[in-house]
Symmetry: C2
Subunit: 338 residues, 2 copies
């Protein structure tokens, strides 16, 4: 058509050239009008705007990004969008980025560990920087990936300074929780464990080990569980078998699943069994009974993640891990040992 070598893909319906032609001006002028450059003659600008309206033109952000060398967009890779804990971080991150004129695009990996790196690379290569939320891949994979996707900040995984990291101190959080239960007189506590290979589960285990060493008389027994409502619901028989008077769930979702089961089984909470969660997801205030849990100011975590990302983009990041210490939020699901 235009050139000697025809292009096979129709690509877009209307381009800046079409507008230029329709308005009888150059592409540069159209570009100026589209970007609100003030030096354009009002009459011409009006002609351009009319052409834009009539042809229903919207510019290609892809072409624009390529030309500008930046997209003012960041990506976020999330392992599971259904996890409420991520929403709150995402929300804080989103608001902060938005305030600075950045868009955010989210990619869900659907807990598919194998595809995680590809998704990260893909979204990174369409944006200016990315945040990796609790990546599930192995440490080796992660360390190999990081230099290829910077600027990047990682949530809840250590990076050995190969990237910025924002960490929630799960070890200390669980420690606080256990100490609280011990303080209430519980001497036999069950831990409904998360996925065995999850870093966040290991961190919790560390915290519990500390409690074990500080309180030799207290027994903390592990019960294999998981991360979902179903897992919490299904854990009851094993939990019951431990004879524990209190249970620390891997997270709120698990705790809520358990609470549902306990209600069905007629087990009174906290009279017969205290239950605590982790994350303080929004629903925890409204469960029956309301859930004792650890709060980590997740919105702030998101805000901080954005700041770290900006530092990475500017190239002046020190990459010192940013760690958030969770705080206990005591509600109705825990109480003194019967």
């Amino acid at each position: 058509m235009a050139g000697r070598r025809a292009r096979r893909t129709p690509s877009r319906v209307t381009t800046i050239s079409d507008i230029a032609e329709a308005a009888g001006v150059s592409k540069a002028t159209v570009s100026r009008v589209m970007n609100g450059v003030a030096t354009v003659n009002e009459e011409i600008a009006e002609r351009v705007r009319r052409a834009v309206d009539e042809l229903g033109y919207t510019r290609s952000e892809t072409a624009r990004s390529l030309s500008l060398g930046t997209s003012r967009t960041i990506g976020v890779v999330v392992p599971d969008l259904a996890n409420p804990m991520f929403h709150q971080v995402l929300h804080g991150l989103h608001r902060a980025a938005e305030r600075d004129g950045y868009r955010v695009l989210i990619a869900d990996t659907l807990e598919n560990v194998d595809g995680e790196a590809d998704v990260a690379l893909d979204i990174r290569n369409r944006t200016d920087a990315i945040a990796l939320f609790a990546p599930r891949m192995s440490r080796a994979q992660l360390l190999e990936l990081l230099p290829r996707i910077e600027p990047v900040v990682v949530l809840n995984r250590t990076t050995g300074k190969r990237a910025a990291s924002v960490l929630i101190d799960y070890a200390d959080g669980v420690r606080q929780l256990a100490e609280h239960l011990v303080g209430q007189g519980h001497t036999r506590i069950a831990y409904l464990a998360g996925p065995p290979d999850a870093r966040s589960n290991m961190a919790r285990q560390e915290g519990l080990d500390l409690v074990r060493s500080v309180h030799p008389s207290v027994e903390i027994v592990d019960v294999a569980c998981g991360f979902s409502f179903e897992d919490g619901y299904a854990a009851w028989p094993d939990l019951q078998a431990t004879g524990a008077t209190a249970a620390i769930a891997f997270n709120d979702v698990v705790a809520l699943g358990l609470l549902g089961r306990l209600d069905e089984e007629g087990v009174r909470v906290p009279e017969e069994l205290s239950v605590a969660g982790f994350d303080d997801i929004p629903f925890s205030r409204f469960s029956s009974p309301s859930l004792t849990t650890m709060t980590a100011r997740l919105g702030d975590v998101g805000e901080r993640t954005w700041q770290a990302l900006q530092a990475e983009m500017r190239g002046d990041a020190d990459r010192e891990p940013i760690v958030f210490a969770p705080e206990l939020t005591e509600r109705a699901s825990t109480g003194s040992r019967a």
Copy 2:
């Protein structure tokens, strides 16, 4: 540098040209290797791969998309990622798109109605097509936007065939729910209404109007409420004032918030008050008591959305609205009138 007119933006660290130079081949050859074109001499291909590894090169998806005229990526615009109802649809859509080799990128509008159209335009201009989940904008705005973002499919809003649409039949769903309660002997039913201007709320109102006309002896009273846990929790006083023996909540989230409040207030469910929700979000099975709700096979809705999107992309869509009829899932939160 290269040309007479230096470019100001550093843009990317490593480009295909760098690889070509390092490997002593042309860009075309690098491109071939990157895309697995078979006709490349193995020795040369190996040289290229080595260069790629050493320089840590990953290609710009932006440039690639521009060149190819397609990104094999679709966008999804969601008004509120925290709403569990969207996750299930998203999940179904994602799985289906993935199966066909498409990536999906998500943009959350944070319930900001004013920015909704801009977000949609932006993400659309980086992807091949988009899905609009329950857009909040006015009908006029929506109809004006649609032709500018096609191929597009809209969830839970009618489009007058200006785009494909997938609809959940809320009117009929609520009707079924109300009929069920009437069948249980309830003659005074409260409806905890959603946002007054939300289309999905209006649809529910229509369904209730039908029930009112069919059962003149049954009173269905509206209680202004909302869409969140908090809204459901806060609605109790107004609800109590109606003297209703059953409540239909705008959605499960509202119902769960209410359930939490009722537990605190010592109101027994369903003995003193039956409570029903809508959407069948995952937690509904695990609440205390478990929640009676309407199920709409949300995963299928997502799958169908993808099919509609594909038809739009191919240009052979008939745009006949696809409607899903929800079904009643009876659980423990509803029962016969005392």
